[in-house]
């Protein structure tokens, strides 16, 4: 009998897990950033929420979004939704993902947001991140930082000129006006998170 094998690939790897669903309270963390500080969500007492983005140095999909992530931070930090970027990759499993590499990348691209290393890789499995880039929008409520959106930044990773649906912007705009995001879960191609 003939079997057909189809591989969807770029040049990269992966793991699988569960994680948060919409409405769950997301864990805080204390992770090292490229500017040598430790960063926690609790540091942001004025924030209304957070745009958490799991991203990395080497994935072409992450690189393609760097300018758009800076733009999101510029647009939403003043409104109370700062971007916090977390690199979930184990630097021992992938070249170019050490904190020193992250510092260089942040400097080169002029990141305006904290770029943190998921040191020990304890945080991304709790969130249920599977790929880079992947966004979790959290809304600060009395019970904690509640997950309100999980997914892609927009609908055209590989060509920023063809974007027609700006998922993260629409979700944060909804939250800022006291609504729930109309689209709260999306999928996109991304690079698997690298582990040993």
């Amino acid at each position: 009998m003939k079997s057909i094998l189809i591989l969807f690939s770029s040049l990269l790897f992966l793991t699988h897990n569960h994680g948060y669903k919409i409405g769950d309270v997301a864990t805080d963390f204390s992770l090292p950033s490229v500017n040598a500080k430790m960063v926690s969500l609790a540091d942001y007492d004025q924030a209304k929420g957070f745009i958490i983005i799991f991203t990395c140095n080497t994935c072409p999909y992450s690189i393609a979004y760097e300018d758009r992530i800076n733009a999101l931070d510029a647009q939403y930090k003043p409104k109370g939704y700062p971007v916090i970027a977390i690199n979930p990759n184990d630097p021992a499993a992938k070249d170019g993902e050490h904190l020193t590499d992250m510092k260089q990348r942040a400097l080169k691209k002029g990141f305006t947001f904290p770029y943190l290393q998921d040191k020990g890789q304890h945080i991304y499995p709790k969130y249920g991140a599977t790929r880079t880039p992947q966004v979790f929008i959290l809304e600060k409520q009395e019970r904690g930082n509640v997950v309100q959106y999980i997914g892609a930044i927009d609908d055209s990773s590989r060509n920023p000129e063809k974007v027609s649906k700006r998922y993260v912007e629409e979700a944060v705009n909804a939250l800022l006006s006291g609504q729930k995001p109309k689209v709260n879960t999306t999928k996109a191609i991304g690079c698997s998170i690298k582990t040993l």
Binding site: M1, K2, S3, I4, L5, I6, L7, F8, S9, S10, L11, L12, F13, L14, T15, H16, P60, A64, T130, R131, G151, A152, D155, S156, S157, R158, N159, K162, K165, T186, K187, A188, I189, G190, C191, S192, I193
Partner: protein
Amino acid sequence: MVSLDFPKHKQSRLLPFISKNKLQSKVVLLDDADENYWINDINANWSGAIPATLIYNSQKRDFYERSFTKNELLNLVESFNP
């Protein structure tokens, strides 16, 4: 083999990768933008992370969101053959 590389990297990265690794199978470059639409059509459990593998025949269809060693992949394909 379905490449999800960037169309702008076809000459500089994809074609050299195919030559270097002497890929024999047909390679298609999937550059449809609306990933949120077609990822679910391929498999509802696929988060979108790559690499991912779909193996099927007339009786069986399995999807794997993970990487494999060559032997793991060979054994898996073998398990589809009666």
